[in-house]
Amino acid sequence: MTATRPTGSRRARPGRAVLATETRLFLREPGSLFWILMFPTLLLVVLGLVPGFDEPSAEFGGVSFVAAYVPVSCLLAAIMAGVTAMPAVISAYRERQVLRRIATTPARAAHVLGAQVALHAAAVLVSVGLVLAVGRLAFGVPLPAALPAWALAYLLALVAVFGIGALVSGTAPSSRAASTVGTVVFFPLMFTAGVWYPVSAMSGLVRDVVAATPTGAAALALDRAQAGELPTLLQVLVVAGWAVVLAVLAVRCFRWQ
């Protein structure tokens, strides 16, 4: 049985229509846009304006305080998007049965989730570009010397952080619960990314523990790539391991309603 289409009709592309809608909705979230796109750069600017923070310091391996905060700010963008902004949207979609509604149309609920991940990831990458550009132009922080290694380490960290967010939003029984759990993991992630104190300047047991976390290992890998060295195999394996495990868990454990 072949269906004939009347002339003038076009072939619908449900995935694209979902992406267009979700993009429009994403732009209606000024809070998310601020915390993902602006806040990491703002943090860098504020620190850079503190007198002396742009001078090389032995504490941070010979780079300036503000230079040490460039990778930290980049990780912060991923954390803001992955564990606060995105879970809020997805858990609300689950709670209000938006995913079920979409599942009864030619579009798929997976289109909606895919669009959300893509949009938040895109915002993070824009934010990273902004941080690197402002660091370079305003405070003379050189761009990562080993750029491919830096990008690889960063993307793995992005997958791991988004995996945590997706796991939270896909398993929390309500959007309220998702935001509570999100807040609980938000602060350890910020700490291990080095927001309070750069990981490279940590020492002893704290450093060892932090180096085993996804954002901690990523922070160390990014520091090395920033300086033009390749990250250590262990650092890459830790971030990659977290990325794989968290992504698989997030997909496996996702509950549609």
Binding site: A12, R96, R100, P106
Partner: protein
């Protein structure tokens, strides 16, 4: 071939049986009502048809396609309005209809549909700011915008005021007159009687009666109600309750009310004649669909108890 064909459907959640041995046919151009109390299995049946739930046993075909296997084919011919589903909070009514329209190759005109559902005034309001009735009408618009061959409407007038309800009924008739088949899930007898060509009454996970509303009333054990005036000292209610075809006898002051089958009515009249009692002010009428429904549903609820005691 029926447009929707459900055969021997069975779905269990943990230990609870949601539906069992459910058969349902929906033919082209019909408005079919699925009635039943909460927990009767209406939602599970509808979810299986919409492809949201995969049954443990049995088959469902929508225009020949199995919903949970060929969802693309099914979602093209089946429009769905689910009671418990929403849209993105910051999406406007206009954008919502346009989005779903963009999912389909040959959709209806979103502007026209918004107009027809009385949403023009709020077309640019966000979903979260719409009233319950407006959200309901928007859900109907998104169910219709793909020009489906058959549309599933789940409790579509819940939360609407009586006037909006009548308007929605009129809309459903127009939809059917436009060639779209309608499956209506409802617990309102008036709605079923007004709109449906056929109804299926569900109780405790099964279809307990099916047919036109008139047929369902006739199939009820107490399809007829009769009442007459007779003082209690002349005739006790108990004297009639044992007669064949009599489902129940109740005394209200001087009047006796008897429900039962048509044969039961004749048996009562015969018994009165034998006793020389004159049924003053005799009234005989058909049971309403409401009463027939309650009778069917209660009988079903009572059935397991009978089995246990046997």
């Amino acid at each position: 071939m029926p447009l929707i064909e459900v055969r021997d459907l069975r779905k269990t959640y943990r230990s609870a049986v949601a539906v069992e041995h459910v058969d349902l046919d929906v033919h082209d151009g019909e408005i079919v009502g699925v009635l039943g109390p909460n927990g009767a299995g209406k939602t599970t049946t509808v979810e299986c048809i919409a492809g949201l739930t995969r049954p443990d046993h049995g088959t469902v075909r929508v225009a020949g396609h199995v919903p949970w296997q060929d969802r693309r084919a099914v979602t093209r011919v089946l429009g769905v309005q689910l009671q418990s589903s929403g849209l993105q909070a910051k999406l406007t009514a206009r954008e919502a209809v346009a989005m779903v329209a963009a999912f389909h190759d040959d959709p209806a005109d979103p502007v026209e549909l918004i107009e027809r559902l009385g949403l023009r005034q709020v077309a640019d309001a966000r979903y979260a700011h719409l009233s319950g009735g407006q959200q309901q009408r928007l859900a109907i618009a998104t169910a219709l915008v793909g020009r489906p061959r058959v549309v599933l409407l789940d409790e579509l007038t819940t939360g609407l005021d009586p006037e909006a309800r009548r308007d929605t009924w009129q809309l459903v008739r127009e939809v059917r007159d436009g060639g779209t088949t309608v499956v209506l899930v409802t617990h309102l007898m008036e709605e079923a009687q007004q709109l449906c060509d056929r109804i299926a009454v569900m109780a405790a996970g099964r279809v307990v009666a099916e047919g036109t509303p008139e047929q369902v009333v006739a199939r009820s054990a107490n399809s007829t109600v009769m009442s007459f005036t007779v003082p209690a000292d002349v005739l006790a209610a108990a004297a009639l309750s044992g007669l064949p075809g009599v489902g129940g006898v109740e005394r209200r002051g001087d009047r006796l009310e008897v429900v039962g089958t048509d044969d039961g009515v004749l048996a009562v009249l015969h018994a009165l004649q034998t006793r020389g009692v004159e049924p003053v002010g005799l009234r005989v009428s058909a049971t309403t669909l409401d009463d027939a429904y309650l009778d069917l549903v209660r009988r079903q609820d009572a059935a397991p108890t009978l089995q246990e005691s046997a």
